[in-house]
Symmetry: C2
Subunit: 341 residues, 2 copies
DNA sequence: CTGTTAGCGCGTTCAG
DNA sequence: CTGAACGCGCTAACAG
């Protein structure tokens, strides 16, 4: 089964009666190599189908031109879009992408971080697990000069490059939209307040209420953990069961908002007439649910590409002027929240 | 920025006054090492936080304990679940996963296959691009003894390990279910007939009709390409526009079926009373759409795990008795197709 | 401009 | 049971 399949610079060297190092240099356009030998070498290399042995290159260079990605679950719309963007940009720039998922478990996140570190990844892109409140497992990367980029679920009180959206602003805009549509008793279904991101969306929500002269009703402000469908159904039910009957709901993700729509309908409320609803992320389900769900577009693919650029720029010592990339979200109004002409 | 961070077997050797080779053997429980030196070595290794340099190991072994994954898009429900299963199983077994997406483009698939080959991946898992009708770019792996596992979108007329579902059977079951619910003029919205998978689903569809004494109406059998939402909306519209008015629709994926529901409703047909609809994959949208969509559960995560097992078994020369893993799909009936009690 | 040499860190002969 | 030596394929320092 094993043939002579891989050809090395030694093979080329022997064939051209040159030294291996000459081949190596010729192939990477080293200035001190004659134009004609360079041509000859390149020609033969192509002819023989030479391809550098990446494992040898890695060992030699002590790094692997591989970007590590550490996220909770690959199979979530936001994250799979993020990874898709990461992969697209990385491959276009000649980098590989290695992925590991933490299943939202801190211990696994720590283990996998170590494993990626051991592989000498040249950079790490991560969106924290929902449990993560300490960040020592990232320090090894800083110590060894490996750039780290935090995306979306970023740490608090821990320096580093961050790619994220303005969650306060987005929460504010979503809420203001509901108010603009005439809602006055607005509820919020949020995620874990350990997460900056959910805290900020809530803060934006509250600020919008205040700025428009509305008072926040604590009974209408719910906080879950991961905002899974199961959890969201429970919260949505609670919301419509107690006598408060909100006339607007801002869900901190689309799953929560969809559950709100479904429960509201089940309880006999009309959407958006009785209750206007808006979500967050602009997942595909927004166009599927009836009525279609308004949402805040969250540029996942784009965030992936930017994260990769940041890694590569850091490697090239192209100093970033800023540690943050704050992307803008966009309100995507659909029928679930439109009560005016 | 650079400290002495990585410690090698030489460091341990010096400290214990042993030879590096002894350390190497002790660490991997080579039989010819004394029980006590073995203990001593392991203890110190743990103490000093020794971790093998994977790049060196790879170079030495001429392979990289990395499984390559070549798929069209990471951000699609079926594929992101597949990858999630692959990653989970691979990491549990000590393998890494490197991903590359082809964007359903044959040329990119070929390039990326080459790139993965160059990395000396120890195995390849792939689901073909929609365009792929030739398979030479996989032959390099066979030649070098690298196992390849095709998943879901598998090649025709090309040998190799394959992990897939029985698409004929699944198509048959979905159709039989509609017939069982009283449908008589059943339509099919299918994907590219270049793909085995869609051809088989169609074949199952036709066979079910025949077995139940129904004749197929060519006007009710549509074939798209990728079955994207845009494409599906067009096909669904066509279906309900011409005078045929199907009383049942089998969509070859959930997107198509959801579009059928939405268009049917828009055209004033009641689902499932006027037209019963069933999809394929059991994507999350099935529970979101109104009415909830019946579907064929497609064990993506599981298929990922099995694919990894096949790769690892092949590497260990654990001969597979069969080249195929045929997983079973499961009918998940929901409101969109239930017309009986 | 090109060749020689010396590792990168590990595993694996072959000796003892 | 252990050590010495070599090489995986490539690159970079140092000669010429």
């Amino acid at each position: 089964m094993k043939e002579k399949v891989y050809i090395t610079i030694h093979d080329l060297a022997k064939e051209l009666d040159l030294a291996p190092s000459t081949i190596s240099r010729a192939l990477k356009d080293h200035p001190s190599i004659g134009a004609e030998t360079r041509q000859t070498v390149k020609k033969l290399a192509k002819l023989r189908g030479y391809r550098p042995n990446i494992m040898a290159v890695n060992l030699r260079n002590q790094r692997s031109k591989t970007i590590g990605v550490l996220i909770s679950w690959i199979n979530r719309p936001f994250l799979s879009n993020l990874i898709s963007g990461i992969e697209a940009e990385a491959r276009a720039r000649g980098y590989n992408v290695i992925i590991s998922q933490t299943t939202d478990n801190l211990a696994i996140e720590q283990d996998n971080a170590k494993a990626l570190y051991d592989m000498r990844i040249c950079g790490l892109i991560t969106s924290l697990s929902i449990e993560t409140l300490e960040y020592q497992h990232f320090e090894q990367f800083y110590k060894s000069g490996t750039p780290v980029v935090f995306v979306d679920r970023v740490p608090v009180d821990f320096d580093g490059q961050k790619v994220l959206i303005d969650n306060f602003r987005a929460g504010y805009d979503a809420t203001a939209h509901l108010i603009d549509q005439g809602c006055r008793r607005i509820a919020h279904i949020g995620g874990s307040l350990n997460q900056m991101l959910y805290k900020e969306r809530l803060r934006g929500f509250l600020q919008a209420l205040e700025d428009h002269g509305l008072s926040a009703n604590p009974d209408l402000i719910l906080s879950g953990k991961s905002l899974s469908r199961e959890e969201s159904l429970v919260m949505a039910t609670e919301l419509f069961k107690n006598g408060h009957s909100p006339d607007g709901v801002f869900g901190a993700n689309d799953i929560a908002a969809v559950c709100a729509i479904q429960i509201a309908k089940k309880m006999g409320r009309k959407v958006p007439e009785d209750v206007a609803i808006i979500g967050f992320n602009d997942d595909p389900i927004c166009e599927i649910v009836d009525p279609p769900l308004s949402s805040m577009y969250h540029p996942a693919f784009e965030m992936g590409k930017i994260s990769v650029s940041r890694i590569i720029d850091s490697l090239n010592d192209t100093r970033q002027t800023e540690d943050f990339s704050i992307l803008t979200t966009e309100l995507i109004p659909r029928k679930s929240s439109l009560r005016k002409g």
